[in-house]
Amino acid sequence: MGYAILAVMAVGVVLMLTRVLPTAFALGLMAVVIALLAGATVLGDKNSVGTTVLQTGSTLLAATMIAVLLGSWLGTLMEDTGIASTLVRKIVEFGGERQVVVALGVYAVAVLCGSITGSAPAAMLAGVVGIPAMIAVGVRPVVAGGTVLMGIATGLPLDLIGWQFLSDAIKIPIDQVRSFQLTLFPIVLAGSLLYILVETRRRGARHAWAVRLDAKPASTRVRRGDAPWYALVSPAVPIVLALGFHVPIVPSLLAGVVYALLTTTRPGKLGERALRSLYRAFDVAAPPIVLFVAIGMLLSAVRLPGAVSALTPIVSALSPSGTVLFVLVFAALVPLCLYRGPFNVYGLGAGVAGVLVSGGVYPSTAVLGLMASYGQVLGVSDPTSTQTVWSAQYAGVRPEKVMASTLPYTWLIAIGGLVLTAALHLT
């Protein structure tokens, strides 16, 4: 029966890859079929499709969903009030004609954006002004797109939403997620800085006499007022509270929202702006929330006793044991997290993580390290993920070009994460 479940997963990957089904629907469908194969009844109080997978599974990641919504709210406010664009403009004015300085500055803004909200909304916050500004001072378009993505991925280990997700998905306390992510952060930072320093210099600054035939990029840049300087620290509020004062995730994000509102909005307009931006945040947060509903169902399905007992022998036999083999094998498998592959943490990878944990193949902290390391590659180099598609297209290049430009560095970061995992949690 284990092999039948693996076959279902393989079919699911094909459905997602060929875009026959959107990822969330494919994951939901897989959850139901896997549950049935694992011997779950259709209805019933225990181990059933109706109760365990659909009812309980759909809200399994509820805490993550609320965090995503709040992060999106803060992101929407940063866009509405001009906080993000003001930050980028200041950096370009001070960085001047030195393309490395401008790239590093936009990267820093992207780290902040990535730490409060994930994927495409974060890329847009930093990139809408940041990408064309980098190109205007001579950064190559591929590198301009890659720099924003690297920044968002560097924010990932500091992303409160990500902590909540990994904690829920791998069933591990937030404290442990936080402490691993904080040790991973310097590795991601070093790899990203290497990317920017090497790639902006490998080929010199580029200045072109170029004429755009479509006016699209300019029209997507809406004119907004300037945010005052003290409002510019808003994106750092949640992480400072969560890290410095151990405030839980939801109040930390809420504090960021309140700070951004109070520093940019006249008292009479507060209620209106707060509500309007919150409603827009629902739009922004819809794709990840739908995905988290489906991932919750998939996790519930692979955690069913029938699925665990069917999959554990196979997965145990396939999984490398020993620290060296762990690093080598999983480093070689990095490409499997791209293109909606089986190690995509925001897809089937969450299910794989569930199997590895419930089967007791590795300690859950090691699974956390594995998934967090893969997440770093996925967040930057996957040409099917929304932030990569958006950044590449906005810079005027194909997403595959951004993958080719960034993958050597993100792969290196992932290997760093795997070594860290093996050293900390497998010995």
Binding site: G96, A136, R206, W209, R212, R223
Partner: protein, 176 residues
């Protein structure tokens, strides 16, 4: 007909970071940059020039580009031919691929020269003060001003009747 200054204002307006600037601010920068381009002494290009054909893409036409590391100007011959074609249809007979090539190389030579001390001169002339501490003033970088300077210098160096800013605007009309 729109003047070079109008077109330079439009160019700056379309450049990232200038979304919120006032019309007066952009107009003053445009005028300063054009004057700067007028005053640059004409010099023979001291860069390597290579020709390539792959300048025309679906939504952007690249006429020439400059690589600051190799000091190489790449002239895209297909783009120059396209622009010459657009100009011919408007009856601008002096806009030959040869004259355009001279303009394109001169444009990129300005970027080459702006990688030296000239950039500081331009920044002082634009005088965009972003930070003032007592007598100390920090002048900010004005994105796109170098492009305006390059266009004006290329106009003078090429001997074209219509300015590269006008020719660029004519080319942009292809997009509708």
């Amino acid at each position: 007909m729109r003047t070079d200054e109008d077109l330079a204002v439009a160019l700056l307006r379309a450049t990232a970071t200038h979304e919120n600037r006032t019309e007066e601010q952009l107009r003053s920068w445009a005028a300063t940059a054009l004057a700067f381009g007028d005053e640059l002494p004409l010099e023979d290009p001291d860069v390597r020039v290579v020709e390539e054909a792959n300048g025309v893409a679906r939504d952007v036409v690249t006429l020439a580009e400059y690589d600051a590391r190799t000091h190489t100007v790449t002239v895209h011959t297909d783009s120059l031919a396209l622009l010459a074609d657009v100009a011919a249809r408007k009856g601008w007979t002096d806009v030959t691929p040869d004259a355009l090539r001279r303009a394109a190389v001169a444009h990129e030579v300005v970027h080459h020269r702006l990688h030296g001390g000239l950039a500081r001169d331009l920044r002082h002339r634009l005088d965009h003060v972003v930070c003032r501490v007592g007598p100390l003033r920090v002048r900010g970088h004005v994105v796109g001003a170098d492009e305006v300077v390059a266009h004006r210098y290329a106009h003078r160096a090429s001997g074209l009747r219509r300015s590269p800013l006008h020719l660029s605007a004519a080319l942009a009309e292809l997009g509708g």
